[in-house]
């Protein structure tokens, strides 16, 4: 390890170190960020939910979107797996079904970035998954 020799060095070090605990920082005030929940029950996993979750994590990061990607249990839409729920700050959650990489890409570009709705929305009759 080289010594940190100046305040600028320290700032660089901080930027680098922050990527390490980013996942934790994001958990502090989730309501202020874009939240993506991927249904990861057996049915979801079988239809590729894991790959979709990785895709979201990677792409949101690459496209500099401040988002928390977490997993959740079965949402009950087994016919439309993989399903994801997206909550924009201050808005009601929206559930998307049959999410493949192409649709995921659309969701990021359209819904998450501009708030425009895209295909595949499942009407939700309850507020959020956890509650």
């Amino acid at each position: 390890m080289n010594k940190i020799k100046s305040l600028d060095d320290l700032k660089k070090m901080r930027a680098q170190a922050q990527t390490g605990i980013n996942v934790r920082e994001k958990s502090i005030d989730p309501a202020s960020r874009v939240q993506v929940k991927v249904a990861m029950a057996t049915c979801g996993i079988a239809s590729g939910a894991k790959e979709i979750m990785d895709f979201f994590i990677e792409q949101l990061d690459r496209r500099s979107v401040e988002a928390v990607v977490t997993q959740t249990g079965c949402m009950g839409y087994c016919y439309a797996e993989p399903t994801i729920e997206v909550t924009l700050p201050g808005q009601e959650p929206v559930v998307f079904g049959d999410v493949d990489k192409k649709r995921a890409d659309q969701i990021i570009e359209m819904y998450i970035k501009t708030g425009e709705l895209v295909d595949g929305i499942i009407p939700v009759n309850y507020r959020t998954i956890d509650k």
Binding site: V23, V38, A41
Partner: protein, 597 residues
């Protein structure tokens, strides 16, 4: 972007470690490995989460799930259910004792709702053994910033303007103390961190050192720069091995990164830190005794002045600050004195960490803004009294604080208010008592502590406290006379007025405050020979209710001293002159025939 998608934070405070958090970490890692998830899920051991009542704690982020009372054998379920299948492990979630619902995250827990974490900002969040995690949380930015932008005088002005006061007991304004030490001219000065914390039931400072050691190191460097010192010393009890090892690791890493040592961040400022070990005497927490102990002398207090800021360690000007006081410093520098002084009451700014102990549901470590009421702390954060019992009193300020009652529950907590109510802030121990606690016994318990810990230098403290203890003991035995109450009060006042250090000056507080607020309980012991709370064994009388006794002989067989006689199927009786009041007969009788009075 880090490769880890998920972090599992496992509490590594002393309490949780005692309940096997090491094994939890190991098992989690093993399970993750088995599932091929070790590349995407990181397991981190952090400092104390504060919620010790329900430890060990495991928190999953980013989805913020808070698992309580986790056992090493739960690792498999956590990995297979939560991480792989994304289903919360219901049985390990926290159940709200009042609302009877399971709560999965901190936001939903009343324990965390009213808290504001400044001194504990990183505890339970970062890995205390990894300096990079501290740096990621703006660690060492405060020292970096002042070294490049501020003169020492400016730093002192910031601390003064923040209104920060010492958290070690006396509440002395921190900025003013730094200024006084700066003003003393000398070729050598010292920064001392007082980590002696030894009040029964207190673990605030220890938890900060275990959970966020770098914040204290950084603050000491800031203090060194401000007062003109290049050496820091941490006085810590040898009996706190975890805190010591985390400190040593932290000091090693800070040196390696050039954040301690020569020419810090190219500024020309040198500062380094060493540990000094104490043997665990309470009085060595008093700053002059602490300094003598560090010098290898007897740990006895000496008369002030000279204050340490003028003549301290090795006769050089020395600034002594408490651990929690220091932990606030980097936050004040980075967020500004206005931010800090906007929190709290008129004369007490910022937050205070308390260790909740005794008959309370949520035993643990909390941090609340000054001005929070005792009721909020006890009922909302603390979750109320254990087993639905009735609140009786709360002892604040450690062994020499006072007992406050129901009538004080709505007092906003700050230095002035606690003093006015007959107690004190002290270092932040809070012991909660319920209807089963006898207040005379409580006073006796604390006096016993002070008698043990008095250094013996002055007679009022050495002999007076012992006499106070004997008087209290007589009362609990039912052998006291009415005039003993006046004796207790007089003697207490003499000890307070004539002792040299804070120990003797405050040790009679538990007696005086219980006398004031629970006088009828003292009188019941003396006049009626009864202990209303039923705690004083010597005052209990066991007898057998003739109409309930069926003569089963169970009590006679249980009695260890043969005090019970009676024929089979006939009423039994207890010989009071032999009875040792152990309660064995009471426990054994199936017919509720043993009466305790």
């Amino acid at each position: 972007m880090s490769k880890y998608k998920m972090h599992l934070l496992v509490c590594g405070g002393t309490g949780c470690r005692a309940s096997a958090s090491d094994a939890i970490v190991e098992n989690l890692k093993k399970e993750l490995n088995n599932q091929g998830l070790d590349e995407s899920v990181q397991v981190i051991m952090t400092g104390c989460f504060g919620f010790c009542e329900k430890g060990p704690i495991v928190k999953v982020v980013p989805d913020n799930t808070f698992y309580t009372e986790v056992k090493p054998s739960d690792a498999k379920d956590l990995v297979e259910e939560h991480i792989i299948k994304g289903r919360k492990v219901e049985r390990l979630l926290y159940k709200d004792p009042v609302k009877k619902v399971t709560v999965s995250d901190e936001e939903g827990m009343s324990f965390y709702k009213k808290q504001l974490r400044i001194a504990l900002r990183n505890c339970g969040f970062i890995n205390p053994e990894n300096i990079e995690e501290y740096i990621a949380r703006d660690g060492y930015m405060a020292i970096g910033q002042i070294l490049s932008e501020n003169t020492p005088e400016e730093v002192i002005e910031i601390i003064k303007a923040s209104g920060l006061r010492g958290r070690g007991g006396a509440g002395f304004p921190t900025g003013l103390k730094w200024q006084l030490t700066r003003q003393t001219k000398s070729d050598q000065k010292y920064v001392v961190c007082n980590a002696d914390e030894g009040d029964p039931g207190a673990f605030m400072d220890r938890s900060i050192l275990e959970g966020d050691p770098h914040s204290v190191l950084e603050a000491m460097a800031i203090c060194g720069y401000s007062i003109g010192a290049d050496t820091g010393l941490i006085y810590i009890r040898a009996e706190y091995p975890l805190a010591i090892s985390r400190l040593l690791t932290a000091i090693g890493q800070a040196r390696e990164f050039g954040l301690l040592g020569k020419n810090i961040l190219g500024s020309g400022f040198d500062f380094d830190i060493e540990l000094k070990y104490g043997a665990g005497a309470f009085v060595c927490g008093e700053e002059t005794a602490l300094i003598h102990s560090m010098e290898g002398k007897r740990g006895e207090p000496s008369l002030k002045p000279p204050f340490p800021s003028v003549e301290g360690y090795l006769k050089k000007p020395t600034n002594v600050n408490n651990v929690e006081t220091l932990a606030n410093i980097p936050a004040i520098i980075l967020k500004g004195h206005k931010w800090f002084s906007s929190i709290g009451t008129e004369k007490s700014k910022g937050t205070k960490v308390f260790a909740l102990a005794g008959k309370i549901n949520n035993v643990g470590l909390i941090e609340v803004p000054m001005g929070t009421t005792l009721r909020e702390v006890i009922y909302e954060i603390g979750g109320g009294i254990k087993d639905g019992k009735k609140f009786k009193a709360v002892q604040t300020g450690g062994p020499s604080g006072g007992c406050l009652t129901e009538a004080h529950l709505d007092v906003p907590i700050d230095y002035e208010n606690l003093l006015a109510a007959g107690s004190m802030m002290g270092s932040g121990g809070m012991i909660i008592m319920d209807e089963d606690n006898c207040m005379v016994s409580i006073a006796k318990y604390f006096l016993d502590f002070s008698v043990e810990e008095s250094c013996g230098k002055c007679s009022p403290c050495r002999i007076g406290n012992k006499r106070l203890y004997e008087l209290l003991d007589r009362i609990t035995q039912g052998k006291a006379e009415f005039d003993d109450l006046a004796r207790l009060k007089n003697l207490s006042e003499v000890i307070k007025d004539t002792s040299l250090c804070g120990l003797g000056q405050s040790s009679p507080n538990p007696v005086l405050s219980t006398l004031q607020y629970f006088r009828e309980e003292y009188e019941a012991h003396i006049i009626d020979h009864k202990c209303p709370a039923g705690e004083c064994k010597a005052l209990m009388v066991y007898s057998i209710l003739e109409e309930h006794c069926v003569g089963c002989t169970a009590c006679a067989r249980a009695c260890p001293v043969g005090a019970i006689s009676g024929e089979r199927k006939l009423v039994h009786s207890i010989d009071q002159s032999i009875c040792i009041k152990c309660g064995a007969c009471f426990d054994k009788c199936k017919f509720d025939a043993v009466l305790v009075q």
